[in-house]
Amino acid sequence: MSTVVNFNGKNIVEPGVYAQTKANVNINPVPFSTGNVLIIDDGSGVDFGGGSGINGDLASGLNSVYNFTSLIDFRNFVRGGKLWDLAEYLFIPENGVAGAPQVSLIRAATTTPSTITYDFTAGANGGTLVIDMKNEGLEGKTADDDESISSSVAADTKVRTGWGSLMKSGVIDNTKYFIEFYEGTFKGLDADGDPYDGLDILSCEPIIIAKSPEFNNLNDLITWINTDTSFNARFKKNASTTVVGTGALVAGDYTANNTLKLATGGTTVYGSTDFDEVLAKIGEVDYTFVLSLNSGILAKGANNTKLLYHITQQAEFKKFMFVGGGDDENAWTGTNGSIDIAQYFNSAYAITCHSGHREDVNFTAEEKLKSSLYHAACVCGRLAGLAPQTSGTFKSLRIKKWRHVLTPEQRVTALQAGVLHNRYVQNIGYVINQAINTIQKNTQMINPDATSNEISIMRIAEQLNKELVLNMRPIFVGQNLNTASPADVKAFIEGYLTQRTATKINDNYIIRFSNVSVVQVQDYYNCTYNFVANSPLNKIFITGFMLDANLSA
Protein backbone atom coordinates (compact mmCIF):
# COMPACT_ATOMS: atom_id res chain seq x y z
CA MET A 1 0.00 0.00 0.00
CA SER A 2 1.41 3.41 -1.01
CA THR A 3 1.25 6.45 1.25
CA VAL A 4 -1.72 8.68 0.48
CA VAL A 5 -0.96 12.41 0.55
CA ASN A 6 -3.54 15.13 0.12
CA PHE A 7 -1.92 17.81 -2.03
CA ASN A 8 -3.58 20.68 -3.84
CA GLY A 9 -6.99 19.23 -3.06
CA LYS A 10 -6.19 15.77 -4.42
CA ASN A 11 -5.20 12.46 -2.87
CA ILE A 12 -1.85 11.55 -4.36
CA VAL A 13 -1.00 7.87 -4.37
CA GLU A 14 1.46 7.38 -7.21
CA PRO A 15 5.15 8.30 -6.87
CA GLY A 16 6.09 11.52 -8.66
CA VAL A 17 6.76 15.26 -8.37
CA TYR A 18 3.79 17.54 -7.75
CA ALA A 19 3.58 21.33 -7.60
CA GLN A 20 1.07 24.02 -6.70
CA THR A 21 0.98 27.81 -6.32
CA LYS A 22 -0.17 29.52 -3.14
CA ALA A 23 -0.18 33.16 -2.15
CA ASN A 24 2.18 34.10 0.64
CA VAL A 25 -0.66 34.91 3.01
CA ASN A 26 -0.16 35.41 6.70
CA ILE A 27 -3.22 33.77 8.19
CA ASN A 28 -2.42 34.78 11.73
CA PRO A 29 -4.21 38.10 12.15
CA VAL A 30 -2.69 40.54 14.58
CA PRO A 31 -4.91 41.96 17.35
CA PHE A 32 -5.12 45.74 17.53
CA SER A 33 -5.83 48.18 20.32
CA THR A 34 -9.32 47.98 21.76
CA GLY A 35 -9.44 50.74 24.35
CA ASN A 36 -7.19 53.68 23.56
CA VAL A 37 -8.66 56.99 24.68
CA LEU A 38 -8.30 60.42 23.08
CA ILE A 39 -8.78 63.75 24.85
CA ILE A 40 -9.09 66.95 22.86
CA ASP A 41 -8.26 69.87 25.12
CA ASP A 42 -10.40 72.70 23.78
CA GLY A 43 -9.95 74.97 26.77
CA SER A 44 -10.21 72.86 29.91
CA GLY A 45 -6.47 72.47 30.19
CA VAL A 46 -5.74 76.19 30.05
CA ASP A 47 -2.65 77.33 31.98
CA PHE A 48 -1.37 73.76 32.10
CA GLY A 49 -0.67 71.00 29.61
CA GLY A 50 2.44 70.22 27.66
CA GLY A 51 3.89 70.13 24.19
CA SER A 52 2.48 72.22 21.39
CA GLY A 53 -1.04 72.94 20.25
CA ILE A 54 -2.34 71.57 16.96
CA ASN A 55 -1.05 74.85 15.47
CA GLY A 56 2.18 75.20 17.40
CA ASP A 57 5.52 76.79 16.68
CA LEU A 58 7.85 73.96 17.64
CA ALA A 59 5.48 71.14 16.64
CA SER A 60 2.11 70.97 14.92
CA GLY A 61 -0.40 68.58 13.36
CA LEU A 62 0.03 64.93 14.28
CA ASN A 63 3.34 65.79 15.95
CA SER A 64 1.23 67.51 18.60
CA VAL A 65 -0.59 64.31 19.59
CA TYR A 66 0.98 63.03 22.82
CA ASN A 67 0.46 59.46 24.01
CA PHE A 68 0.67 58.17 27.58
CA THR A 69 0.42 54.69 29.00
CA SER A 70 0.58 55.55 32.68
CA LEU A 71 -1.01 58.02 35.06
CA ILE A 72 2.38 59.26 36.23
CA ASP A 73 3.56 60.06 32.70
CA PHE A 74 0.33 61.84 31.88
CA ARG A 75 0.44 63.91 35.05
CA ASN A 76 4.09 64.81 34.58
CA PHE A 77 3.20 66.09 31.14
CA VAL A 78 0.18 68.23 31.98
CA ARG A 79 1.57 69.14 35.46
CA GLY A 80 -1.72 70.46 36.83
CA GLY A 81 -5.22 71.68 36.12
CA LYS A 82 -8.43 69.82 35.42
CA LEU A 83 -6.82 67.27 33.11
CA TRP A 84 -4.31 66.38 35.82
CA ASP A 85 -7.22 65.72 38.17
CA LEU A 86 -9.30 63.87 35.61
CA ALA A 87 -6.56 61.48 34.49
CA GLU A 88 -6.84 59.35 37.61
CA TYR A 89 -10.38 58.38 36.66
CA LEU A 90 -9.26 57.26 33.21
CA PHE A 91 -6.24 55.26 34.25
CA ILE A 92 -7.64 53.91 37.53
CA PRO A 93 -11.43 53.77 37.14
CA GLU A 94 -11.74 51.30 40.01
CA ASN A 95 -9.33 49.93 42.56
CA GLY A 96 -7.55 46.88 41.29
CA VAL A 97 -8.87 46.86 37.75
CA ALA A 98 -7.30 47.95 34.49
CA GLY A 99 -8.20 51.34 33.07
CA ALA A 100 -7.36 52.97 29.79
CA PRO A 101 -4.28 51.29 28.29
CA GLN A 102 -3.31 54.49 26.50
CA VAL A 103 -4.50 58.09 26.64
CA SER A 104 -3.67 60.50 23.82
CA LEU A 105 -3.86 64.22 24.36
CA ILE A 106 -4.07 66.99 21.82
CA ARG A 107 -4.60 70.69 22.39
CA ALA A 108 -7.02 72.37 20.00
CA ALA A 109 -5.09 75.61 20.19
CA THR A 110 -2.62 77.86 18.45
CA THR A 111 0.42 78.12 20.68
CA THR A 112 3.70 79.96 20.79
CA PRO A 113 6.48 79.18 23.22
CA SER A 114 7.59 81.26 26.17
CA THR A 115 11.21 82.23 26.20
CA ILE A 116 13.98 83.03 28.65
CA THR A 117 16.63 85.43 27.41
CA TYR A 118 20.12 86.02 28.76
CA ASP A 119 21.88 89.11 27.44
CA PHE A 120 25.58 88.87 28.14
CA THR A 121 26.51 92.30 26.79
CA ALA A 122 28.38 93.93 29.67
CA GLY A 123 31.75 93.31 28.06
CA ALA A 124 33.12 93.33 24.53
CA ASN A 125 32.38 89.62 24.16
CA GLY A 126 29.49 87.44 25.25
CA GLY A 127 26.26 87.37 23.27
CA THR A 128 22.62 86.56 23.70
CA LEU A 129 21.10 83.23 24.72
CA VAL A 130 17.42 82.70 23.94
CA ILE A 131 15.71 79.55 25.22
CA ASP A 132 12.27 78.34 24.08
CA MET A 133 9.97 76.32 26.34
CA LYS A 134 8.98 73.11 24.55
CA ASN A 135 5.66 73.16 26.39
CA GLU A 136 4.27 76.02 24.41
CA GLY A 137 1.97 78.74 25.60
CA LEU A 138 2.79 78.46 29.28
CA GLU A 139 4.59 81.14 31.19
CA GLY A 140 6.58 80.92 34.38
CA LYS A 141 4.84 82.40 37.41
CA THR A 142 5.68 83.05 41.01
CA ALA A 143 2.96 83.08 43.65
CA ASP A 144 2.42 86.81 43.28
CA ASP A 145 2.38 86.58 39.48
CA ASP A 146 -0.27 83.92 39.36
CA GLU A 147 -3.55 85.61 38.55
CA SER A 148 -5.55 82.70 39.90
CA ILE A 149 -4.29 83.39 43.42
CA SER A 150 -6.50 85.96 45.08
CA SER A 151 -4.37 86.67 48.15
CA SER A 152 -1.33 88.67 47.23
CA VAL A 153 1.91 87.10 48.29
CA ALA A 154 4.67 89.67 48.25
CA ALA A 155 8.10 89.15 46.81
CA ASP A 156 7.89 85.47 46.01
CA THR A 157 11.12 84.54 44.28
CA LYS A 158 10.34 80.96 43.32
CA VAL A 159 8.77 79.51 40.20
CA ARG A 160 5.42 78.02 41.21
CA THR A 161 3.98 77.21 37.78
CA GLY A 162 5.68 77.01 34.41
CA TRP A 163 9.40 77.50 34.08
CA GLY A 164 12.19 79.80 35.08
CA SER A 165 15.93 79.89 35.61
CA LEU A 166 18.46 81.42 37.94
CA MET A 167 22.12 82.21 37.23
CA LYS A 168 24.37 81.62 40.20
CA SER A 169 28.00 82.12 41.04
CA GLY A 170 30.22 79.07 40.66
CA VAL A 171 30.81 76.74 43.60
CA ILE A 172 33.85 74.91 42.31
CA ASP A 173 35.33 77.99 40.62
CA ASN A 174 33.97 81.29 41.86
CA THR A 175 35.09 83.07 38.69
CA LYS A 176 32.56 81.02 36.79
CA TYR A 177 28.77 80.76 36.85
CA PHE A 178 26.06 78.17 36.37
CA ILE A 179 22.36 78.29 35.58
CA GLU A 180 19.62 76.22 37.21
CA PHE A 181 16.42 75.63 35.24
CA TYR A 182 13.24 75.18 37.27
CA GLU A 183 9.76 73.83 36.79
CA GLY A 184 6.92 74.91 39.09
CA THR A 185 4.94 72.20 40.83
CA PHE A 186 1.74 74.04 41.77
CA LYS A 187 -1.22 72.07 40.38
CA GLY A 188 -3.70 74.90 40.12
CA LEU A 189 -7.05 75.56 41.74
CA ASP A 190 -10.33 73.77 41.18
CA ALA A 191 -13.71 75.42 40.73
CA ASP A 192 -13.99 75.92 44.49
CA GLY A 193 -10.63 77.71 44.64
CA ASP A 194 -8.87 74.80 46.33
CA PRO A 195 -5.61 73.32 45.04
CA TYR A 196 -6.17 70.12 43.06
CA ASP A 197 -3.63 68.19 45.11
CA GLY A 198 -4.34 69.97 48.40
CA LEU A 199 -1.03 71.84 48.41
CA ASP A 200 -1.26 75.62 48.44
CA ILE A 201 0.97 77.55 46.08
CA LEU A 202 3.61 78.50 48.65
CA SER A 203 4.02 74.86 49.66
CA CYS A 204 4.90 73.88 46.11
CA GLU A 205 8.65 74.00 45.76
CA PRO A 206 10.02 74.15 42.22
CA ILE A 207 12.04 71.23 40.95
CA ILE A 208 15.35 71.60 39.13
CA ILE A 209 14.95 70.30 35.59
CA ALA A 210 18.52 70.89 34.50
CA LYS A 211 21.69 72.46 35.84
CA SER A 212 24.48 73.68 33.63
CA PRO A 213 28.14 73.04 34.35
CA GLU A 214 30.09 76.05 35.55
CA PHE A 215 31.03 78.32 32.68
CA ASN A 216 32.46 81.74 31.91
CA ASN A 217 32.05 81.57 28.17
CA LEU A 218 28.74 81.47 26.31
CA ASN A 219 30.18 78.94 23.87
CA ASP A 220 30.68 76.46 26.71
CA LEU A 221 27.10 76.93 27.86
CA ILE A 222 25.77 76.41 24.33
CA THR A 223 27.84 73.25 23.94
CA TRP A 224 26.18 71.86 27.07
CA ILE A 225 22.72 72.99 25.90
CA ASN A 226 23.17 71.22 22.59
CA THR A 227 23.86 67.87 24.25
CA ASP A 228 22.11 67.71 27.61
CA THR A 229 19.05 65.45 27.51
CA SER A 230 17.48 66.82 30.72
CA PHE A 231 17.63 70.35 29.36
CA ASN A 232 16.29 69.35 25.97
CA ALA A 233 13.38 67.47 27.48
CA ARG A 234 11.79 70.80 28.43
CA PHE A 235 13.74 73.49 26.61
CA LYS A 236 15.18 74.25 23.22
CA LYS A 237 17.78 76.77 22.14
CA ASN A 238 16.21 79.43 19.96
CA ALA A 239 17.83 80.08 16.58
CA SER A 240 18.28 83.76 17.45
CA THR A 241 20.98 82.86 19.98
CA THR A 242 24.18 84.66 19.04
CA VAL A 243 27.73 84.66 20.32
CA VAL A 244 29.71 87.90 20.16
CA GLY A 245 33.46 87.73 19.76
CA THR A 246 35.04 85.00 21.86
CA GLY A 247 31.87 84.58 23.94
CA ALA A 248 33.76 85.28 27.17
CA LEU A 249 31.66 86.66 30.02
CA VAL A 250 32.61 89.40 32.46
CA ALA A 251 31.44 90.06 36.02
CA GLY A 252 28.91 92.57 34.74
CA ASP A 253 27.14 89.80 32.81
CA TYR A 254 26.51 87.94 36.03
CA THR A 255 25.33 91.08 37.86
CA ALA A 256 22.86 91.81 35.09
CA ASN A 257 21.41 88.28 35.08
CA ASN A 258 21.57 86.92 38.61
CA THR A 259 17.87 87.21 39.44
CA LEU A 260 15.11 84.71 38.74
CA LYS A 261 14.12 84.79 35.09
CA LEU A 262 10.63 83.58 34.30
CA ALA A 263 9.66 82.19 30.93
CA THR A 264 7.53 84.84 29.25
CA GLY A 265 5.75 85.64 26.04
CA GLY A 266 4.02 82.32 25.44
CA THR A 267 0.48 82.36 24.09
CA THR A 268 -2.31 79.81 23.92
CA VAL A 269 -5.40 80.64 21.89
CA TYR A 270 -8.18 78.07 21.72
CA GLY A 271 -10.22 78.68 18.57
CA SER A 272 -12.93 76.91 16.62
CA THR A 273 -10.58 76.67 13.63
CA ASP A 274 -8.04 74.91 15.86
CA PHE A 275 -10.69 72.37 16.83
CA ASP A 276 -11.50 71.89 13.14
CA GLU A 277 -7.81 71.40 12.49
CA VAL A 278 -7.67 68.69 15.15
CA LEU A 279 -10.56 66.84 13.52
CA ALA A 280 -8.89 67.16 10.14
CA LYS A 281 -5.70 65.59 11.47
CA ILE A 282 -6.85 62.79 13.78
CA GLY A 283 -8.81 60.69 11.28
CA GLU A 284 -6.21 57.93 11.33
CA VAL A 285 -5.03 58.23 14.95
CA ASP A 286 -5.41 54.95 16.80
CA TYR A 287 -8.06 55.39 19.46
CA THR A 288 -11.41 53.80 20.28
CA PHE A 289 -12.88 56.20 22.82
CA VAL A 290 -12.91 59.95 23.00
CA LEU A 291 -13.69 61.74 26.24
CA SER A 292 -15.41 65.04 25.65
CA LEU A 293 -14.41 67.75 28.10
CA ASN A 294 -17.63 69.65 27.44
CA SER A 295 -20.27 68.29 29.78
CA GLY A 296 -23.51 69.48 31.34
CA ILE A 297 -24.76 72.71 29.85
CA LEU A 298 -21.86 72.63 27.35
CA ALA A 299 -22.61 69.10 26.14
CA LYS A 300 -24.78 70.15 23.22
CA GLY A 301 -22.23 72.65 21.97
CA ALA A 302 -20.59 72.94 18.57
CA ASN A 303 -17.42 71.03 19.39
CA ASN A 304 -19.24 67.95 20.70
CA THR A 305 -21.60 67.97 17.74
CA LYS A 306 -18.76 68.33 15.25
CA LEU A 307 -16.99 65.53 17.08
CA LEU A 308 -20.03 63.29 16.77
CA TYR A 309 -20.03 63.78 13.02
CA HIS A 310 -16.31 63.16 12.86
CA ILE A 311 -16.34 59.88 14.78
CA THR A 312 -19.30 58.50 12.87
CA GLN A 313 -18.65 59.82 9.36
CA GLN A 314 -15.07 60.97 8.89
CA ALA A 315 -12.71 58.92 11.05
CA GLU A 316 -11.24 55.83 9.41
CA PHE A 317 -12.92 53.67 12.06
CA LYS A 318 -15.90 54.71 14.11
CA LYS A 319 -15.21 55.77 17.68
CA PHE A 320 -17.21 56.13 20.87
CA MET A 321 -17.68 59.48 22.55
CA PHE A 322 -18.30 59.87 26.29
CA VAL A 323 -20.11 62.98 27.42
CA GLY A 324 -20.97 64.08 30.94
CA GLY A 325 -24.66 64.80 31.35
CA GLY A 326 -26.30 66.62 34.24
CA ASP A 327 -24.45 66.87 37.55
CA ASP A 328 -27.33 66.28 39.94
CA GLU A 329 -31.08 65.85 40.20
CA ASN A 330 -31.67 69.42 39.04
CA ALA A 331 -30.04 68.50 35.73
CA TRP A 332 -31.89 65.25 35.23
CA THR A 333 -34.78 66.47 33.11
CA GLY A 334 -35.32 69.78 31.34
CA THR A 335 -33.12 71.61 28.86
CA ASN A 336 -29.49 70.46 29.09
CA GLY A 337 -30.48 67.78 31.57
CA SER A 338 -29.14 64.28 31.05
CA ILE A 339 -32.25 63.06 29.24
CA ASP A 340 -32.21 66.07 26.94
CA ILE A 341 -28.52 65.54 26.17
CA ALA A 342 -29.01 61.84 25.39
CA GLN A 343 -31.90 62.62 23.08
CA TYR A 344 -29.83 65.31 21.40
CA PHE A 345 -27.01 62.91 20.53
CA ASN A 346 -29.24 59.93 19.74
CA SER A 347 -26.33 57.84 18.51
CA ALA A 348 -24.92 54.37 19.02
CA TYR A 349 -21.53 56.09 19.22
CA ALA A 350 -22.32 58.65 21.95
CA ILE A 351 -22.66 57.80 25.63
CA THR A 352 -24.10 60.24 28.16
CA CYS A 353 -23.27 59.68 31.83
CA HIS A 354 -25.60 61.18 34.40
CA SER A 355 -24.62 62.60 37.80
CA GLY A 356 -21.48 63.92 39.35
CA HIS A 357 -20.20 62.63 42.66
CA ARG A 358 -18.95 63.67 46.07
CA GLU A 359 -15.30 63.13 46.81
CA ASP A 360 -13.79 63.09 50.26
CA VAL A 361 -11.06 65.65 50.79
CA ASN A 362 -8.01 64.22 52.49
CA PHE A 363 -7.64 64.91 56.20
CA THR A 364 -10.80 67.01 56.41
CA ALA A 365 -14.48 66.38 56.87
CA GLU A 366 -15.17 68.21 53.61
CA GLU A 367 -16.54 66.78 50.42
CA LYS A 368 -15.86 68.05 46.94
CA LEU A 369 -18.68 68.15 44.43
CA LYS A 370 -17.39 66.73 41.18
CA SER A 371 -19.15 67.17 37.86
CA SER A 372 -20.53 64.48 35.59
CA LEU A 373 -17.36 64.84 33.50
CA TYR A 374 -15.57 62.72 36.11
CA HIS A 375 -18.29 60.10 35.82
CA ALA A 376 -17.85 60.08 32.04
CA ALA A 377 -14.08 59.75 32.46
CA CYS A 378 -14.51 56.91 34.93
CA VAL A 379 -16.90 54.95 32.70
CA CYS A 380 -14.67 55.63 29.71
CA GLY A 381 -11.61 54.34 31.56
CA ARG A 382 -13.49 51.32 32.89
CA LEU A 383 -14.75 50.24 29.47
CA ALA A 384 -11.37 50.98 27.91
CA GLY A 385 -9.87 48.44 30.28
CA LEU A 386 -12.38 45.78 29.28
CA ALA A 387 -12.35 43.62 26.17
CA PRO A 388 -14.95 44.69 23.60
CA GLN A 389 -17.20 41.72 24.32
CA THR A 390 -17.19 42.37 28.07
CA SER A 391 -20.25 44.38 28.95
CA GLY A 392 -19.95 47.33 31.30
CA THR A 393 -23.24 46.33 32.88
CA PHE A 394 -22.96 45.76 36.64
CA LYS A 395 -19.30 46.80 36.66
CA SER A 396 -18.23 48.85 39.64
CA LEU A 397 -16.42 52.19 39.53
CA ARG A 398 -14.14 53.99 41.94
CA ILE A 399 -16.95 56.49 42.53
CA LYS A 400 -19.07 55.54 45.53
CA LYS A 401 -20.94 58.71 46.53
CA TRP A 402 -23.28 59.96 43.83
CA ARG A 403 -24.77 63.41 43.76
CA HIS A 404 -27.96 61.96 42.34
CA VAL A 405 -28.98 58.47 43.37
CA LEU A 406 -31.74 57.58 40.95
CA THR A 407 -35.00 56.10 42.12
CA PRO A 408 -36.15 52.85 40.48
CA GLU A 409 -38.60 54.84 38.35
CA GLN A 410 -35.86 57.24 37.28
CA ARG A 411 -33.60 54.32 36.41
CA VAL A 412 -36.25 52.90 34.10
CA THR A 413 -36.66 56.31 32.49
CA ALA A 414 -32.88 56.58 32.12
CA LEU A 415 -32.60 53.21 30.39
CA GLN A 416 -35.35 54.09 27.99
CA ALA A 417 -33.89 57.53 27.31
CA GLY A 418 -30.35 56.25 26.71
CA VAL A 419 -28.75 57.74 29.83
CA LEU A 420 -25.97 55.71 31.43
CA HIS A 421 -26.20 55.83 35.22
CA ASN A 422 -25.33 53.93 38.38
CA ARG A 423 -27.35 52.04 40.92
CA TYR A 424 -26.75 50.24 44.17
CA VAL A 425 -26.90 46.46 43.95
CA GLN A 426 -26.88 44.38 47.09
CA ASN A 427 -23.70 42.32 47.51
CA ILE A 428 -21.95 44.28 44.77
CA GLY A 429 -22.26 47.99 45.63
CA TYR A 430 -22.65 50.85 43.17
CA VAL A 431 -22.38 49.65 39.59
CA ILE A 432 -23.18 50.78 36.07
CA ASN A 433 -26.83 49.83 35.75
CA GLN A 434 -26.55 48.98 32.06
CA ALA A 435 -23.83 49.97 29.60
CA ILE A 436 -25.99 51.73 27.05
CA ASN A 437 -25.46 54.44 24.49
CA THR A 438 -27.79 57.29 23.57
CA ILE A 439 -29.53 55.74 20.60
CA GLN A 440 -33.24 56.31 21.07
CA LYS A 441 -34.27 53.33 18.93
CA ASN A 442 -33.58 51.01 21.84
CA THR A 443 -36.31 48.47 22.35
CA GLN A 444 -34.47 45.75 20.40
CA MET A 445 -30.97 44.48 21.07
CA ILE A 446 -30.06 44.64 17.36
CA ASN A 447 -31.81 47.14 15.10
CA PRO A 448 -32.40 46.50 11.39
CA ASP A 449 -29.73 49.11 10.57
CA ALA A 450 -27.09 47.12 12.50
CA THR A 451 -27.06 49.47 15.46
CA SER A 452 -27.56 48.50 19.06
CA ASN A 453 -28.13 50.31 22.32
CA GLU A 454 -25.52 48.05 23.94
CA ILE A 455 -22.05 49.55 23.96
CA SER A 456 -20.34 46.14 23.87
CA ILE A 457 -22.16 45.03 20.72
CA MET A 458 -21.21 48.21 18.90
CA ARG A 459 -17.63 47.83 20.11
CA ILE A 460 -17.49 44.28 18.75
CA ALA A 461 -18.82 45.37 15.35
CA GLU A 462 -16.33 48.22 15.07
CA GLN A 463 -13.45 46.14 16.34
CA LEU A 464 -14.11 43.48 13.72
CA ASN A 465 -14.08 46.15 11.02
CA LYS A 466 -10.90 47.67 12.36
CA GLU A 467 -8.99 44.41 12.71
CA LEU A 468 -10.06 43.08 9.33
CA VAL A 469 -9.03 46.29 7.58
CA LEU A 470 -5.73 46.70 9.41
CA ASN A 471 -4.81 43.05 8.94
CA MET A 472 -5.83 42.68 5.33
CA ARG A 473 -4.63 46.00 3.96
CA PRO A 474 -0.89 45.31 4.06
CA ILE A 475 -1.32 41.72 2.89
CA PHE A 476 -3.69 41.98 -0.04
CA VAL A 477 -3.84 45.48 -1.49
CA GLY A 478 -1.32 45.78 -4.31
CA GLN A 479 -1.26 42.04 -4.99
CA ASN A 480 -2.74 40.47 -8.12
CA LEU A 481 -5.46 37.93 -8.84
CA ASN A 482 -2.99 35.06 -8.52
CA THR A 483 -1.14 36.05 -5.37
CA ALA A 484 -4.33 37.22 -3.68
CA SER A 485 -7.09 35.15 -5.16
CA PRO A 486 -10.69 35.26 -3.90
CA ALA A 487 -9.99 31.93 -2.22
CA ASP A 488 -7.03 33.44 -0.38
CA VAL A 489 -9.06 36.40 0.84
CA LYS A 490 -11.92 34.13 1.88
CA ALA A 491 -9.51 31.88 3.72
CA PHE A 492 -8.03 34.85 5.51
CA ILE A 493 -11.40 36.21 6.63
CA GLU A 494 -12.50 32.77 7.79
CA GLY A 495 -9.22 32.35 9.64
CA TYR A 496 -9.62 35.71 11.29
CA LEU A 497 -13.24 35.10 12.29
CA THR A 498 -12.35 31.68 13.66
CA GLN A 499 -9.70 33.32 15.78
CA ARG A 500 -12.30 35.76 17.05
CA THR A 501 -14.90 33.13 17.87
CA ALA A 502 -15.47 32.50 21.56
CA THR A 503 -14.93 29.08 23.08
CA LYS A 504 -15.63 27.87 26.59
CA ILE A 505 -11.95 28.37 27.35
CA ASN A 506 -11.39 31.71 25.61
CA ASP A 507 -13.96 34.47 25.57
CA ASN A 508 -13.97 36.46 22.35
CA TYR A 509 -15.80 38.91 20.09
CA ILE A 510 -18.27 36.60 18.34
CA ILE A 511 -20.24 33.44 19.02
CA ARG A 512 -20.22 32.19 15.45
CA PHE A 513 -19.94 33.30 11.84
CA SER A 514 -21.18 32.02 8.51
CA ASN A 515 -21.49 32.70 4.79
CA VAL A 516 -18.10 34.24 4.15
CA SER A 517 -18.22 35.27 0.53
CA VAL A 518 -15.68 36.97 -1.74
CA VAL A 519 -16.83 38.14 -5.16
CA GLN A 520 -14.48 39.68 -7.69
CA VAL A 521 -15.73 42.91 -9.28
CA GLN A 522 -13.35 44.66 -11.70
CA ASP A 523 -10.26 45.42 -9.58
CA TYR A 524 -11.71 44.75 -6.17
CA TYR A 525 -13.25 42.03 -4.07
CA ASN A 526 -16.62 42.42 -2.44
CA CYS A 527 -16.45 40.45 0.81
CA THR A 528 -19.41 39.69 3.04
CA TYR A 529 -19.89 37.61 6.15
CA ASN A 530 -22.45 37.02 8.87
CA PHE A 531 -21.62 36.99 12.55
CA VAL A 532 -23.33 36.67 15.88
CA ALA A 533 -21.85 39.09 18.39
CA ASN A 534 -20.94 37.82 21.82
CA SER A 535 -23.64 40.04 23.24
CA PRO A 536 -24.32 40.67 26.92
CA LEU A 537 -26.65 38.88 29.25
CA ASN A 538 -28.71 41.50 31.03
CA LYS A 539 -31.70 39.75 32.49
CA ILE A 540 -32.52 36.37 33.95
CA PHE A 541 -36.10 35.40 34.72
CA ILE A 542 -36.62 32.58 37.13
CA THR A 543 -39.92 30.89 37.65
CA GLY A 544 -40.33 28.32 40.36
CA PHE A 545 -43.25 25.93 40.35
CA MET A 546 -44.55 25.06 43.77
CA LEU A 547 -45.69 21.50 44.09
CA ASP A 548 -48.13 20.02 46.54
CA ALA A 549 -46.22 18.03 49.14
CA ASN A 550 -48.73 15.19 49.01
CA LEU A 551 -48.62 14.90 45.23
CA SER A 552 -44.90 15.36 44.63
CA ALA A 553 -43.63 12.38 46.56
Partner: protein, 89 residues
Protein backbone atom coordinates in the same frame (compact mmCIF):
# COMPACT_ATOMS: atom_id res chain seq x y z
CA UNK B 1 -34.59 81.50 7.19
CA UNK B 2 -34.04 78.15 8.87
CA UNK B 3 -30.66 76.70 9.65
CA UNK B 4 -30.72 74.24 6.75
CA UNK B 5 -31.20 77.08 4.28
CA UNK B 6 -28.43 79.12 5.88
CA UNK B 7 -25.89 76.31 5.82
CA UNK B 8 -26.74 75.38 2.23
CA UNK B 9 -26.22 78.93 1.02
CA UNK B 10 -23.04 79.76 2.87
CA UNK B 11 -20.52 77.09 2.07
CA UNK B 12 -20.65 75.01 5.23
CA UNK B 13 -18.69 71.78 5.18
CA UNK B 14 -20.76 68.63 5.60
CA UNK B 15 -19.56 68.27 9.16
CA UNK B 16 -20.31 71.84 10.12
CA UNK B 17 -23.69 71.73 8.41
CA UNK B 18 -24.54 68.60 10.38
CA UNK B 19 -23.49 70.24 13.64
CA UNK B 20 -25.23 73.54 13.01
CA UNK B 21 -28.44 71.87 11.87
CA UNK B 22 -28.54 69.63 14.91
CA UNK B 23 -27.82 72.49 17.28
CA UNK B 24 -30.33 74.93 15.86
CA UNK B 25 -32.96 72.58 14.46
CA UNK B 26 -36.38 74.17 14.08
CA UNK B 27 -35.27 77.76 14.64
CA UNK B 28 -36.02 80.54 12.22
CA UNK B 29 -33.79 83.63 12.09
CA UNK B 30 -32.67 86.36 9.74
CA UNK B 31 -29.44 86.06 7.81
CA UNK B 32 -27.74 88.56 10.09
CA UNK B 33 -28.81 86.73 13.22
CA UNK B 34 -27.54 83.39 11.93
CA UNK B 35 -24.31 85.03 10.93
CA UNK B 36 -23.80 86.42 14.42
CA UNK B 37 -24.70 83.18 16.17
CA UNK B 38 -22.67 80.83 14.02
CA UNK B 39 -19.51 82.79 13.32
CA UNK B 40 -17.87 81.98 16.66
CA UNK B 41 -18.11 78.22 16.17
CA UNK B 42 -18.09 77.69 12.43
CA UNK B 43 -16.09 78.77 9.43
CA UNK B 44 -18.21 79.61 6.42
CA UNK B 45 -18.19 81.90 3.42
CA UNK B 46 -17.70 85.55 4.27
CA UNK B 47 -20.87 87.45 3.56
CA UNK B 48 -20.68 89.23 0.19
CA UNK B 49 -22.95 91.89 -1.20
CA UNK B 50 -25.63 89.52 -2.43
CA UNK B 51 -25.66 87.15 0.49
CA UNK B 52 -25.48 89.88 3.11
CA UNK B 53 -28.79 91.45 2.15
CA UNK B 54 -32.03 90.10 3.58
CA UNK B 55 -33.75 87.30 1.71
CA UNK B 56 -36.67 89.52 0.75
CA UNK B 57 -34.28 91.93 -0.95
CA UNK B 58 -32.65 89.04 -2.81
CA UNK B 59 -36.01 88.03 -4.21
CA UNK B 60 -36.59 91.61 -5.31
CA UNK B 61 -33.16 91.65 -6.96
CA UNK B 62 -34.03 88.51 -8.86
CA UNK B 63 -37.25 90.06 -10.06
CA UNK B 64 -35.40 93.14 -11.23
CA UNK B 65 -32.93 90.92 -13.11
CA UNK B 66 -35.78 89.10 -14.81
CA UNK B 67 -37.35 92.40 -15.81
CA UNK B 68 -34.16 93.64 -17.38
CA UNK B 69 -34.19 90.67 -19.75
CA UNK B 70 -37.65 91.42 -21.06
CA UNK B 71 -36.71 94.36 -23.36
CA UNK B 72 -34.43 92.03 -25.29
CA UNK B 73 -37.38 89.71 -25.94
CA UNK B 74 -39.38 92.67 -27.15
CA UNK B 75 -36.64 93.54 -29.58
CA UNK B 76 -36.73 90.02 -30.97
CA UNK B 77 -40.46 90.27 -31.59
CA UNK B 78 -40.01 93.54 -33.39
CA UNK B 79 -37.48 91.96 -35.70
CA UNK B 80 -39.90 89.16 -36.57
CA UNK B 81 -42.62 91.62 -37.37
CA UNK B 82 -40.29 93.45 -39.67
CA UNK B 83 -39.46 90.26 -41.56
CA UNK B 84 -43.10 89.40 -42.07
CA UNK B 85 -43.75 92.91 -43.28
CA UNK B 86 -40.95 92.59 -45.80
CA UNK B 87 -42.46 89.37 -47.16
CA UNK B 88 -45.82 91.01 -47.65
CA UNK B 89 -44.35 93.83 -49.62
Amino acid sequence: MNIEQFTQRNGFTQRDAFAACRMYKGQDRSFGEWNEILKKDFTFNSPNIISSVPVETKIENTKIKENTIEPAKTTEKVKLVKKSQTKKT
